[in-house]
């Protein structure tokens, strides 16, 4: 087993990985940018090293710096987390060339599956259905026009190196094409250093279903599926397992397809094979493979009882899987809500600021993976994901009730978050029924009438808060209750 690991990431996922390392007796090393000095994740590691200025390109994406820090600190392996360098084949290669273990698939598998165009071809070779489209890279406007003509609008422009919804644009007609192509290429270049895009038919009302796989190089297992159809900007907000409204015949077919692709790519480590599921036609299409740990992996951990990060580290240490497919028996239902620093009332635009208060939910069946603390600042430099709430219960409707309860306990003051949005989704008939698709957020009635009782409560609370401010000796904006104490002494 590896003895010391550097986590080339920040935020909740770095904390998540450190926790498993601690349980395995593995020493840990954190890295941080100047914007993350003293950040929550650095306090969870045995050692922490500063690697550069705030922009990710000058810190968390600096391959040479990160590898040399790992060497100097005496690490044996590097875990990339998700995002940043996690699907960067050069990074995996550099790590291995330095004599360290990359905790993830081989550079070769990243290359074969990480590039969406090559992955598409591989799926077709394995007779796994793919979304209608043009499986070639689109370099200019003319070839984009030709591809669009062939496929028919609406189309989806996707970055070949893409992930996380970046470099992706839905195009409804010819007049939007030029602008959308430019934006997608520019975003792809900024995010992945590669502006290659390709074009697929846009399937508006589909379910997003993915399969968690785990392979030690000899045995390839699936840990069940997750449904992730609640998305904004092609980024997931809610994930659950098992997928509601999926027949067991189709579930098996999708999982078997995922195994075929993983085997063909000689995949080793944890990975996710994503599919689009057209629920009207009851047909599924291969979408892409994420050659890394997913944000939503805890959903699978909750229903299987496994620790996917632990399995990744064991596999990277050269150990075989200690269980077989028949040992994996998912139980109950799990739902994850991503708590992002975004304003759902304002098109999910990012929100930055000081975390003035943070109450995390606890209690039966509740797990919170988070990367922030009270008194920390949310900066505009990185992904807005602050925390993940994951609930487990014996069935889906109990899990929804549990999520409601936990969301009401969850409180973040100082920045706008998606907590209120999630709470309303849990009341939505469409969500509860389970037939929702990737168009859910547009259809979802997000405004909620304030009751007379709620209005009165808000009014009383605000007025009392205001009058307490007035009677307190001015001590400005204390967050530690000092103002209040002074007021009581008067």
């Amino acid at each position: 087993m590896l003895k010391k690991i550097l986590v080339a990431n920040r935020g909740e996922i770095a904390v998540r990985i450190f926790r498993t390392c601690k349980e395995l007796g593995i020493k840990t090393v954190a890295i941080y940018s100047e914007a993350d000095r003293g950040a929550f994740h650095t306090r969870f590691a045995d050692e922490a090293y500063r690697i550069g200025p705030p922009p990710a390109a000058q810190s968390y994406l600096q391959i040479e710096t990160i590898v040399s820090v790992a060497k100097k600190a005496g690490c044996e392996g590097i875990h990339p987390g998700y995002g940043f360098l996690s699907e960067n084949e050069d990074f995996a290669h550099t790590v291995e060339a330095a004599g360290l273990v990359f905790i993830g698939p081989s550079p070769d598998a990243i290359k074969r599956l990480g590039d969406k165009i090559t992955a598409r071809t591989l799926a077709q070779q394995e007779q796994v259905p793919t979304v209608p489209g043009v499986g070639q890279s689109i370099k200019d406007f003319v070839s984009a026009q030709n591809a669009a003509k062939e496929i028919g609008f609406p189309i989806l422009i996707k970055a070949s190196a893409g992930g996380g919804g970046k470099g992706m644009r839905v195009v409804a007609n010819d007049s939007e094409l030029k602008n959308a192509l430019e934006r997608a290429q520019s975003e792809a270049h900024a995010a992945f250093g590669d502006s290659t895009v390709f074009i697929e038919k846009y399937i508006a009302h589909a379910k997003h279903i993915e399969v968690q796989i785990l392979s030690d190089g000899k045995n390839v297992l699936y840990l069940g599926e997750r449904e992730c159809s609640v998305q904004r900007r092609h980024q997931k907000l809610i994930e659950e397992s098992p997928a509601p409204k999926l027949t067991s015949v189709l579930r098996d077919a999708i999982c078997e397809s995922a195994i075929k692709i993983a085997k063909a790519a000689r995949y080793k480590s944890a990975g996710t094979v994503e599919f689009l599921f057209d629920s009207e036609a009851q047909k599924f299409y291969f979408l892409e493979v994420n050659t890394r740990l997913q944000v939503e992996h805890p959903v699978t951990e909750m229903v299987t009882g496994l620790d996917i990060v632990k399995e990744q580290i064991r596999i990277a240490s050269g150990l075989s899987l200690s269980f077989t497919q028949s040992d994996i028996r998912p139980r109950g239902h799990a739902i994850e809500c991503r708590i992002c620093a975004e304003d759902p009332e304002n098109n999910f635009l990012p929100s930055t600021g000081l975390i003035e208060e943070l109450n995390l939910p606890t209690g039966p069946g509740v797990r919170v993976d988070h990367g922030i603390a009270r008194g920390e600042r949310v900066t505009p430099f990185y992904d807005p994901l602050l925390a993940k709430l994951i609930v487990w219960a014996e069935d889906r409707s109990c899990a929804i009730e549990r999520a409601k309860r936990a969301l009401e306990e969850f409180r973040v003051l100082g920045v706008k978050t998606t907590i209120g949005f999630h709470r309303r989704v849990m009341d939505s008939g469409l969500f509860r029924e389970g037939a929702y698709t990737t168009g859910f957020i547009k259809e979802f009635e997000r405004t909620r009438e304030l009751s007379e009782d709620e209005l009165e409560i808000l009014a009383i609370a605000a007025v009392l808060k205001h009058s307490q401010e007035a009677t307190a000796v001015p001590m400005t904006t204390s967050v530690d209750g000092a103002t209040w104490k002074r007021a009581e002494q008067l």
């Binding site: 900024a190 609370a461 605000a462």
Partner: protein, 174 residues
Amino acid sequence: MKYLVSVGDRQLELNVFSQNQSEAKIELNNKRKDVELKRVGQNYFLLLEGRVIDLGISGQEGHYSVQLAGQEYEVHIERALLQKYKQFLKEAQGAISGAATIFAPMPGLILKIEAQLGQSVKAGEKLLIIDAMKMENEIRAPHEGIVEKVNVQEKQQVEKGHLLCTIRKAGGGS
């Protein structure tokens, strides 16, 4: 003391008769109530005739974000008299100006400025692109008009609420 409380487009008048530390006597919708608001950090507990209500409150001086049962509300309060005076001023000023000022909806980096000074734009036309948290966001004109002022440069980092540009409605007064 009389207060006018607004939450979105809903309004309420509330009278505070007396206040002693965390406790107060109030009148609301012609009903008198004894209430108490206790604070722990920025978590608050409202005791309302036997009911215990857990709240989170941030903000100050009349502008608050209040969290209740997982939802967040913007609550504004004003002394009732002052509010009437402000309303009068606002109405007097209204309709004089025909220009829309466009503010940064989020902090970020100005990636590209498409709108040139003096250019006429249509409603929905792209003005500039802000890069925030690695997403490129297009800022579009709210209505037709002339770009009267561009207050930012490309590669400039802006805070939320930073004035980006001004669009004067065609034929609008000056």
